[in-house]
Amino acid sequence: MSDLDEFKATYFDECSELLLELEEQFSAIQEGDRDSERLNAVFRAIHSIKGGGGAFGFDGLVKFAHSFETLLDYVRDGKVELSEDVIVLCIRSIDIVADFVGAARTGDALAASYGAVEKAQFDALARGQSAGAASTDDEPMDDFDIDFTPVAVNLERELPMASTAPATDGMTRWTIGFTPFPTLYERANDPLLLFRELGMLGTMTVTPRLKPMPKLADFDPFGVYCAWDIELVSDRASADTIREVFEFVDGDCAITIEMHEGSAPAAIALDDDDLPSFAALAEMAKAERKFIATGDADDMGAGADLSALLDDTKAEAAAPAPLHLVAEAAPAPATAANRDRSTDAPEDSASSGRPVGMQSIRVDLDKVDRVVNMVGELVITQSMLTQQMDDAIRDRYQELVRGIEVLAQTTRGLQDAVMAIRAQPVKSVFSRMPRLVRELASKTGKKIKLETIGENTEIDKTVIEQLSDPLTHMVRNSADHGIESPEKRVSRGKPEVGTVRLSAEQAGGNILIIVEDDGGGINRDRVLEIARERGVVGPDQQMTDEQIDNLIFAPGFSTASEVSDISGRGVGMDVVLSNIKKIGGSVHVRSWTGKGTRMTLRLPLTLAVLDVMLVKVAGSPYVIPLSSIVETIQNSRADFGHMPSGGKVLQVRGEYVQVVDLATRFEMTTDQAEDSRFVVLCEAEGNSKIALVVDDIIGQQQVVIKSLEENFERIDGIAGGTILGDGNVALIVDVQSLKSGTAHQTAA
């Protein structure tokens, strides 16, 4: 239940926000702002509250919100005028929704009739009557949303009972009415499966309610001719758990759930607590009964049952219905059944008085980013301080040194704590993979087992968001290309079922995500052949096994003849590589022929800190992301060629690479002698290379990325700025834009 509790907590947090929004919007509407966008916002907010409430089975809330929503929908469509009365009603209703949410959060029970007056007004308005009076005039209900009121009626009687938990040691008897609509069958649901699941909750008796069968000639094979009544005796079922069983057919059937206890139905007791509203309840019941009388009952095949059920409600209010008497008067069968399940603890219902209050706060990601940035700054400054300490200082200023060491520790702690705020377990990405593998297995006829390890490893939220696509692709590749068919596996002496293992672990400042399979491994001959065919590799170029394996990430390489409709959708592994590189990571593949393949993703823990090489151009500091640097060469050793345009090319291992002098490109003058300058060979997107000439290489370090656009504007060739340990600003070289801009630059 802990996952569900987490979801609930999120839902309640969202509700608080949505309720605030409702308040805001309505006060604007009340002041005369009739912008349709406001109504839409209000509608959305109520709809979200209702939707979440439905998922958790907060039926009173859902019922009320639904009426509210219906009214708003009519207002939006102009069917109901947004008069002062209606606005006042709406504003009052926000408070009622808030009370419902509050009650759901604390597990307190609200009076059954709570909000009934307003609800009746909604319903009346929705039927085209004026606000303020829920009259029962006979009026046609042309547009009435037919499948909502019947459900509402049933929930009405279920609400107070659900919130009064059954006696912990006793069995509870439930009557569940299940009337499928044709849509239930159209969506390929099987009632039998639902019954089986329901049967897990306790002892169950299912009685069909057969409608008269038509003559064979009139028989509609897709028609619904049967509904069921289910008697469930259980010690752990609650309205929520029962509703959960029917969760997936919600809206495709009419469900009624009744609980019967040894005492009088809880609804009555509750109503007694709240006598003044009793009249309202009666009034509402009358109003709804009227609907059922006029509603097209046969259309659903449920209406008739519902009005019968409604009568039950009324009967129950006076005295227990005869049918229920059996259960209430005879606890004996319950205790008999109890023996079977005596070990099971009763389900912890929502009313078990959980502590109230916000367990979490929702913070704007920007705010967190600001803290992350500043802490990054602090870490860098601190490491600079530590580096400045030589032995002389250590001897002389011992107290100072000790202070700095403590500062270092605290800073690291702070960094960890801040990163933890943004960290999320990789589970959110991993959890999509089992389904992917299942589907793949059934499409290809392979037998594949997916193992996931370390799914609680946490990574920065931004990294997680970018991880999903590449990882999906890698898993797909492993399952599709890696794992062999069962026959082939058996003939190779391997278990029939192939394994894809997905694991995540933290290694230093990186996260390693490994996708492993025990398939056939990469067919190196074939890969090399294809790479040669496509010109990815020169005809005479010799390559190591490892280099060949990593060819699968080369752009333009896709083993077309092996491509299936699963893996080969025009997205190659090169896209995986470039996606991973974008978030500062790297991919490495190793393969063992006949034994399997391992792809290792190395990702930074956070995107806030970037590994860079610090260089100098014309006296100014620049940094180049380390992830894009292939190698650095001293100018005096570099093999330059001159081009007709006056530009240069660099020859490196049989490749000619465009040379861009950063000083020239950035329109600055340098007095550094050509020979003492350096070439930084960089790799831009899509494996294309560019050689940048810089004056000097200072070293490697970590920096925090800062935006130039925040206070200024985008500058060509610059990806942003960063602040160095000495407090100066260094500019981050945008390798990609330099590469794509070179053609334009030489032409100009």
Binding site: N711, G727, V729, L731
Partner: protein, 161 residues
């Protein structure tokens, strides 16, 4: 009683501010310019800036202002009088323009002036640079103070480029 006194002062101040303008006055050569004091965030000595490539001449570069990168505009160069050759005695006035923070490089900051809004003269038509960069002219102690239009100083960097 003292608390009351303070409140009185305060209300005096707000009453007065309705009709007056407080300016930070700074100079370029002998000429005095002013910006509204509420826009000024910080005044700091020139301590170098990292030059930005591929941008206008009067953008001197960027500085680190407590972790934020702030561009520095050379006001003299913006007026078209050539680049300032800054020394440690030059001053950067950091201001907020819209939601952005910028710094302008000036020779010196001289004073805080309180001027009456009624004393603001319009800039004489004639030179488009003057009318573009100045919001108005006020007289203080018999000297002319040009009111800098910050938005124009900053936006020029974009439109001219």
């Amino acid at each position: 009683m003292e608390a009351l006194g303070i409140r009185d002062d305060y209300s005096d101040g707000t009453a007065a501010s309705q009709n007056t303008l407080q300016l930070i006055a700074f100079s370029i050569d002998e000429q005095i310019y002013g910006v509204e004091i509420t826009t000024v965030r910080e005044i700091r000595a020139w301590n170098g800036a990292t030059p930005l490539p591929n941008t206008r001449e009067y953008v001197r570069g960027v500085i680190n202002l407590r972790g934020t990168i702030v561009p520095i505009f050379d006001l003299r160069a913006r007026f078209g009088d050539g680049k300032t050759n800054p020394t440690k005695n030059h001053v950067v006035v950091v201001m907020s323009v819209g939601d952005k923070w910028i710094g302008i490089l000036v020779d010196a900051v001289s004073d805080i002036l309180t001027v009456s809004k009624d004393d603001i003269h319009t800039v004489p038509e004639g030179n488009s640079v003057d009318t573009e960069l100045l919001n108005g002219i006020v007289t203080h102690d018999g000297r002319m103070v040009g009111l800098i239009d910050l938005a124009a100083v900053v936006s020029g960097a974009k439109t001219d480029a």
